[in-house]
């Protein structure tokens, strides 16, 4: 498989009024890879995706898909892209068959081929026996499966998954991951936005971490992890009044720490076990009341905290919407 760039985003900026939802993003997705876009709510993930899909016009910058300018060739681009969003949008009042047939028609699949495709899609989704049942009666997992085959009905080259597993239970989430991997093995390029670091870790070949509309880092998972530093991450939670004492103790053992509220975090580069024990003894000696102390290898979580200065936020309502509303009122 030729590893050419399937998607190329260059200096993309998208403003809503005064608000810069996407601030100069450049990235490229290679053909056949699973590319993750990771970021908290309101980071600009969905806005970026919407520009790629042609739903939004970029304020500046360009998006090319398979060497075609996304906004100059909307018809061809749209045939190449499939989208599955975080809200399940199968129509509950329609049967599984009608749902699929409708989208096959919307995508201008040749009339004669529609029944064949719908049948195959239902088989892929393991919903053949539910073809004529209203989708509204399906379980969450079934709906998501139907949604996935629906977004593939036009046989796209690129599948964009916008937080595909949000709200799914663990079993269904793992099943969906398997399906995503299967599709990828068939040669479909996949772009995945997610808030779940675990999901990005499990699926993505490469990923970009974005926050406040900017790319903070881009690379393979191990490349990103190594950015945090070698060695182990030490995390101590103490009373807020004692964080400086804890910080001093870390320094004594050659660990540069940083404080976030009541959390002291440092990176132990040498002899992790020994240093950990020494620090833990010293804390006890100085009678610092430790609520929790732990050490682990860097995770994407740590990468994230290091790069964005915060844990994944889970605010109610994305600020993407808030930004749009602002833009709306501004007129």
């Amino acid at each position: 498989m030729a590893k050419q760039n399937m998607i190329e985003i260059k200096n993309l900026v998208k403003r809503f009024g005064d608000f810069k939802a996407v601030d100069d993003i450049s990235l490229s997705v290679k053909e056949g890879e699973i590319f993750g876009i990771l970021g908290p709510n309101g980071a600009g993930k969905t806005t970026t995706i919407n520009v790629v899909l042609g739903l939004l016009k970029p304020t500046s910058g360009s998006v090319k898909i398979d060497d075609l300018d996304a906004h100059a060739n909307p018809e061809r681009i749209k045939q190449m892209l499939g989208l599955m969003t975080q809200e399940t949008v199968v129509e509950g009042d329609l049967t599984a068959w009608d749902n699929l047939e409708l989208f096959a028609e919307l995508y201008h699949v040749p009339k004669g081929e529609i029944p064949k495709r719908v049948k195959r899609a239902l088989e892929d989704a393991e919903l053949t026996d539910k073809a004529y049942v209203r989708a509204g009666t399906f379980s969450g997992g079934m709906k998501r499966r139907l949604e996935l085959v629906k977004s593939m009905i036009q046989e796209p080259k690129v599948l964009i998954l916008d937080e595909p597993t949000t709200g799914l239970d663990v079993q269904n989430r793992h099943k969906l991951w398997e399906r995503i991997k299967e599709l990828n093995q068939k040669g479909i390029t996949i772009i995945l936005t997610t808030q779940y670091l675990e999901e990005a870790d499990a699926l993505c070949d490469r990923l970009a971490i974005i926050d406040h509309g900017k790319i903070k880092a881009i690379g393979t998972v191990s490349e990103l992890k190594s950015k945090v530093g070698k060695g182990n991450i030490l995390e101590i939670i103490v009373k807020q009044s004692e964080t400086n004492d804890a910080l001093r103790i870390l320094k004594k053992f050659g660990v540069n720490g940083s404080v976030k509220v009541d959390r002291v975090v440092g990176n132990i580069e040498k002899e992790p076990t020994k240093t950990f024990n020494k620090i833990s003894n010293e804390l006890e000696k100085q009678k610092i009341s430790v609520l929790s102390i732990s050490m682990h290898l860097p995770t994407l979580d740590d990468v994230f905290i290091t790069l964005t200065g915060s844990k994944i936020r889970d605010e109610a309502g994305g600020s993407d919407d808030a930004a749009r509303m602002r833009a709306w009122r501004g007129r």
Partner: protein, 379 residues
């Protein structure tokens, strides 16, 4: 692919959704005309026990049967009076609303000559439809009716005057129900538009279906046109329900079956215009609650002013001016001509249709423009 094909796909989708909620949709569409035509249709129409004084100058079997036929109805409360003067005095002093004089020749043998005189005060509300009732009962006795309005009454001029004649407030038709049915038939098209056009766009937007449509290569205007077609289909369906309810409760279409050939296009045009209007609303409003209030705040006055409940001619001058710019006025006038007047002069039809087409043109153009505007913003 062409706009037409895309439009038909969206239309098909809307109809599938309509079908899957068929029962709710039908119940909803029947409730409104049922309430208006059946209940409100009685307004000013059949007050029961209207006091009537009868003077029987014939005194034969037929006249007795005629009186008992009148008495059997709740509509009239019949009193037998001996002299004409006494009865007229009762009318003067408001003891009765109608006086019937059965003339001596009342025996079913003298044709084409008045055999009954009817005196009444020309006050629509106090008469209800008692006059039609008296006329129709008299006709069963093969008898002619002359009538005299009390105010115009001169003793000598009574007999031999023309047939019963009165001008009810609600057009030439006899019944307020007929009058109301005409406007309900049009109004359900407007209500169909508020549910089918704007509201479905807001729902699609909220549920994410709109985004799903927009990432497909369909022509964006197809979404608007699909909703317009859907709105028109349901509007015709709802209007036919309303008309059937009216027919079931005694309303007649003066133009007969041919009237349908007028009513259906009028309803379709109404639906197009108002669906366009609701799409404009839906392009500016994101919440169903706000939309519902806005749609009602607009459609209710439009309805009242269109002469739905009372003829525009009975409105104060300034309101008549407002009703002249109300697009629904022209639809209502058309349907009313068909149902009540029994003829729809081509000149009036052409003018009404022209106004409706202008309204459609403006609304659909604005709807398309503003709908596209919201898409560009990524809604």
């Amino acid at each position: 692919m062409s706009l037409v094909q895309d439009t038909l796909v969206i239309y098909k989708r809307e109809m599938l959704l309509f079908r899957s909620n068929l029962r709710t949709n039908i119940i909803r569409s029947i409730m409104f005309p049922l309430v208006f035509i059946v209940f409100l249709g009685n307004l000013g129409n059949t007050p029961s026990n209207i006091p009537v004084a009868i003077v029987n100058l014939a005194g034969n079997v037929q006249s007795q049967q005629f009186i008992s036929a009148l008495s059997q109805q709740n509509a009239l409360s019949v009193k037998a009076i001996t002299t004409q003067q006494q009865a007229i005095n009762m009318l003067d002093s408001d003891q009765v609303n109608v006086v019937i004089i059965i003339l001596p020749q009342f025996n079913g043998q003298v044709q084409n000559a008045p055999t009954i005189d009817v005196y009444y005060l020309n006050q629509q509300l106090s008469l209800g439809n008692s006059l039609q009732f008296i006329t129709s009962t008299a006709q069963k006795f093969n008898s002619q009716v002359s009538s005299v309005q009390q105010k115009a009454y001169l003793p000598g001029a009574a007999a031999g005057s023309a047939q019963i004649s009165f001008t009810p407030t609600y057009g030439t038709s006899s019944s307020y129900r007929d009058f109301l049915t005409g406007s309900v038939v049009v109004m359900v098209a407007v209500f169909g538009a508020t549910f089918g056009g704007g509201m479905s766009i807001i729902m699609d937007r909220q549920l994410g279906n709109l985004k799903a449509f927009l990432i497909t290569p369909i022509n964006k205007n197809a979404i608007v046109f699909g909703k317009l077609l859907y709105g028109a289909t349901t509007a015709v369906l709802y209007s036919m329900f309303a008309l059937l309810i009216g027919l079931a409760f005694g309303v007649t279409v003066a133009m007969g079956i041919a009237g349908l050939l007028w009513i259906i296009p009028i309803v379709i045009l109404t639906s197009f215009g108002f669906t366009g209007l609701t799409i404009v609303l839906a392009s500016r409003i994101n919440r169903i609650e706000v939309y519902t209030i806005a749609a009602q705040a607009i459609s209710m006055p439009i309805w009242f002013i269109s002469g739905a409940f009372f003829p525009t001619s009975s409105m104060p001058g300034w309101l008549q001016a407002v009703s002249a710019v109300d697009p629904l006025t022209y639809a209502t006038n058309g349907v009313r001509d068909v149902i009540i007047n029994g003829s729809y002069p081509l000149g009036a039809a052409a003018f009404n249709i022209f106004v409706q087409l202008a309204f459609i043109g403006i609304m659909v153009y604005l709807g398309m423009r503003m709908f596209r505007g919201t898409i560009e913003e990524g809604k």
